[in-house]
Symmetry: C2
Subunit: 386 residues, 2 copies
């Protein structure tokens, strides 16, 4: 278990010749101020207290095509602390995505990322872990760092971001966050490279990764499995850049309290379609800690004054909809009813995430957003074999 | 007028120690192949001929927050040739966006970008111009490079991308492309950093930048002007990353012929709202070359067999809509009618791009997507003074 931790040294210069550390974020408009364009968000009326960004710690699991760009965006925004988890090495085969460079091939992803990010912004604290979170020993350590690796040691991190490429790692993060009551965000890109999504999971409040069958990410087959067969998933820097961008935008909105935080935002690149929705948790969820968090959330809402409680509920739950799928913006219920994507033969209690609404005659063939060309049964069978 | 041109030398190694050049794109799944994940798009049925990417030349005007990421994405995708135009220097104040690093402060943006990009992918040809395209002399040179700077010298480039931050530079690109009949794409991010857009302009076929008053970008005041007053526009790596991502995705779809190419795609980060539409050109456009291109397009359509002509028309023109605004995906006409953004008092023949449809009661205050808090009159007055 390789591990590297670094603390912010007062006046230190281990940023690698990039720039000196800055003690306090300033709004001053001079060419030498790396924070002027961010602090301007206050004058523009978008964020009331931008400096607060320095008080947050965010853990990123998976430093690949989405995770590395996510880490770079948060670093440039001046986040307080980043914890990075990955066990892969940089390869030339990763050069079709942003961030890593050819001369870094062979380095561990977390080591290469830490070096680059520290150069970009030496004000950020970094803690990197070069291991696979899904093994029993590493899982315990991972849980410990989520609970104690906050900006102040002993406090939990503020947010966990899942930027992994396989089902097992997602389930592992889900298990940890349900047990700890830790808010996290999921992200994913389809195997055919032309769609992706982000999802906010607040244990007990919104559906967890085990509440609904993760149709959307099931098409993401672990690259390791694929490579053995001499094939690989396709990927594009565009799709991964957009997914990282909407993920970090959602993180900023969540942490700095502006705009509308999305519970689910999809991206279909073929048609430039961006569905949003939210899902309430499944009371029969297989994860015992999810059910426990649901009970605690119910108690919390019951203890609130009536109006606040109604507002809290309103945020996620849609009364007319047994499965709690709420269409927040682009897609009307009518459109959903008229949707004509191939709906698989579903076992009881399971519903598809969404299909593309029928459009003009000459539009491309309707597909489910993360179409893998596989039936739900195939996917479920695959998951069981993982 | 600083200029640097570089040709692909056979077997040369001026990529700076990154990786060796690759003569032919291969789909082989090995860690050392930087193109395996892109060539996999063929096996996935997304792109029929990915290698064709190497035959295209793209000019990028403006190598800032959007342009630099756009250039990096195209470089990693293995584009044939990039022509970069900018006259700015890298500053620490740019570090809140992706791409440039602190140690590059003081270098010209095109020089710093060329060095980084060549390291990332030495298979791409680069031609960089460190000048302002809006001066008379440089404009002539710029026109010459658009007409002759294709992959094969003497042929035009395949696409021009506008990633500039001011009205004058956009109008200059528009003038050049109308005169040359050059297809281009526009991009922009609002001064408050939380919205942006991309737009495809095919002279004579879709509305040019002068056809409709560019309400959407008018709020982008030149940073130079702002700086003099000790204030600056806000910017975020997230919004700029998303705009670069949807821009390059549209470029790939356009050049490699897959998916639906968007004529206009907006991004409202506060509400995760992504409107799409298309606009036909204005027969009374002030730009004489736009009117000429419209005539030529009409002749071209008239010469086509009947069915093809109807299909061609269908792509942009919406019969019921005098202004040709066609809502392609998310927003219904009903929603547009119900939109309640502040609609300015418009001079005859002018229409707003769009406003946000009315949503739940407690949603954030309705704003025009690129709300600058200024009236149309203010904006028009400002433009005249430029």
């Amino acid at each position: 278990m390789a591990e590297s931790r670094s603390r912010r040294a007062v006046g230190g210069g281990d940023g690698g010749g990039g720039r000196v550390r800055i003690e306090k974020m300033s709004p001053e408009v001079v060419d030498s101020n790396p924070y002027s364009r961010l602090m301007a968000l206050k004058r523009m009326g978008i964020v009331s207290d931008y400096e607060k960004i320095r008080t947050f710690a965010v853990a990123i699991v998976g430093v690949g095509g989405v995770g590395s760009v996510t880490a770079e965006m948060l670093t440039r925004c001046g986040i307080g602390k980043l914890l990075l988890f990955d066990y892969d090495k940089v390869e030339l085969a990763n050069m079709n995505r942003l961030f890593f460079q050819p001369h870094q091939a062979g380095l561990s992803k977390v080591q290469a990322a830490e070096y680059t990010l520290r150069n970009i912004n030496p004000d950020v604290l970094f803690e990197v872990h070069n291991y696979n979170i899904t093994t029993v020993e590493n899982f315990q350590h991972f849980m410990g760092r989520i609970s104690n690796g906050g900006l102040e040691e002993g406090k939990p991190v503020d947010l966990v971001l899942s930027c992994v490429d396989n089902f097992e790692a997602r389930m592992t993060i889900n298990t940890a966050c349900n047990e700890l009551g830790q808010t996290w965000m999921e992200s994913g890109v389809s195997e055919n490279a032309v769609s992706g999504h982000i999802q906010l999971i607040i244990p007990g409040e919104s559906a967890c990764f085990a509440c609904a069958p993760p149709l959307v990410v099931a098409a993401n087959i672990d690259e390791k499995t694929l490579k053995r067969e001499g094939v690989c998933a396709a990927s594009l820097p565009t799709t991964m850049g957009v997914v990282a961008g909407i993920l970090v935008q959602n993180v900023l909105k969540f942490l700095l309290n502006f705009g509308t935080v999305s519970f689910y935002l999809g991206y279909n690149a073929m048609q430039d379609f961006f569905p949003t929705m939210s899902m309430k948790p499944n009371p029969q969820c297989d994860d015992r800690n999810c059910r426990k968090q649901q009970e605690e959330y119910k108690k919390k809402v019951a203890a609130l004054p009536k109006q606040e409680a109604a507002q809290e509920e309103e945020e996620i739950i849609h009364e007319d909809n047994e499965w709690g799928i709420e269409l927040v913006s682009e897609v009307s219920e009518e459109e959903l009813k008229n949707s004509s994507g191939p709906i698989p033969d579903l076992p009881e209690g399971i519903t598809v995430a969404y299909t593309i609404p029928k459009k003009q005659e000459d539009s491309v063939a309707e597909v489910t957003v993360e179409d893998s060309g596989e039936s739900l049964e195939d996917l479920m069978a695959k998951m069981k074999n993982m």
